[in-house]
């Protein structure tokens, strides 16, 4: 009998100041192992400075069938984009 280890979602911060981004998933028996597996699977090519893992079952996702009511109304509200500001040259990661 082969029991599958639980699935975990992995988030990596590529450098200080940036957000953690979802990079993929992996299997592990506990949070510690998930962190180490994430280190081995997703940061081998120098991709990160910080790792978050969360067991996939704890993620609540929106229903794709609801996309229209959820996202459609935002599409024609162009005025919500802050496009009228001048961003100084020294400000990065905007």
């Amino acid at each position: 009998m082969k029991k599958e280890w639980p699935l975990w979602e992995v988030f990596i911060r590529s450098k200080s100041g940036l957000n953690h981004k979802h990079v993929g998933s992996l299997h592990a028996t506990d949070a510690e192992m998930a962190t180490e597996n994430a280190r081995d699977v997703y940061t081998r090519r120098n991709e990160g400075v910080s790792i978050w893992v969360v067991e996939s079952k704890h993620i609540t996702a929106s229903d794709p069938d609801d996309s229209d009511p959820l996202f459609e109304p935002a599409k024609d509200k162009i005025y919500r984009h802050p496009t009228f500001y001048n961003v100084p040259d020294d400000v990065t990661h905007m």
């Binding site: 592990a28 510690e32 192992m33 180490e36 597996n37 699977v41």
Partner: protein, 250 residues
């Protein structure tokens, strides 16, 4: 730098190369995909360390040899690795215990070598220590996870410890080369680091509810070229290409 220094570097290099090769044998066979990557990552760290050491040894020899000559064209009796690292992978418990016994030694060793009187050795050790710290963390956690896991995993781990313990003493039993290097401040004084290694092992094994055997007869000889039958088989596979097609590159 003397002939003894070169021999010392080769001892370090051979340990890393042979253990790296053993771990590489798991590639595509590990119990989980994530472990497959973890074990081969460690294998690549060790192979990288071996390469640095062989390059340095070849440079000191000054006979125009390369790292490949040292890795692929020496025979069993020329290799100076400890018996532990050439032992077969066995089951996953054996691989983890072998790694744990080596990592606990290797970590303390490189901590000490980072203060070597030889600048190159100190630099190499400081760089490698970061990799080795992770190896030790990985193998220690697996010892705890499996030792303190199910009845079956506990039994397999205890069996692996009982099987491999006899090879754990050679690591801290200095040969002539190591004694000379330690006296010159280039190599590590193994008697000095032994208590820290023993303490780390005891701590992890206690957490894992595993027993380190006492009064075990300790095998030795690898450091002086007297190997178990396994090394010949490793070399015949590892060196095949260079022996059959000398000078081949890719």
């Amino acid at each position: 730098m003397t002939d003894t220094s070169i021999k010392y570097l080769l001892q370090l290099a051979d340990n890393a190369l042979i253990l790296g090769h053993r771990l590489g044998e798991w590639c595509g066979h590990a119990p989980e995909m994530e472990l497959d990557i973890a074990l081969t990552n460690i294998a690549l760290d060790l192979t990288g360390q071996a390469r640095n050491l062989y390059q340095r040894a070849a440079e000191l020899e000054g006979q125009g040899k390369t790292e490949d000559d040292l890795a692929y064209l020496r025979d069993v009796w020329d290799f100076r690795n400890v018996l532990l690292v050439e032992q077969p992978n066995g089951d996953f418990a054996h691989t983890i215990v072998r790694q744990f016994l080596f990592d606990t030694y290797n970590y303390c060793l490189h901590q000490e070598l980072a203060h070597s009187a030889d600048e190159w050795v100190a630099g190499f050790a400081a760089k490698s220590l970061k990799e080795i710290a992770y190896h030790q963390r990985f193998s220690s956690e697996w010892v705890v996870r499996l030792g303190d896991g199910t009845e079956v995993s506990h039994a397999k781990m205890q069996a692996a410890i009982d099987d491999l313990w006899t090879y754990s003493g050679e690591l801290t039993l200095p040969n002539e080369v190591e004694k000379q290097m330690a006296s010159q401040g280039i190599g590590a004084d193994l008697a000095k680091i032994k208590p820290a290694i023993d303490a780390k092992r005891a701590e992890v094994l206690a957490t894992a509810s595993l027993q380190g055997p006492t009064g075990t007869w300790m095998q030795s000889g690898g450091k002086d070229g007297r190997h178990s039958e396994h090394l010949g088989f490793i070399l015949s596979e590892m060196q095949f290409l260079q022996r059959a097609y000398p000078g081949q590159e890719w």
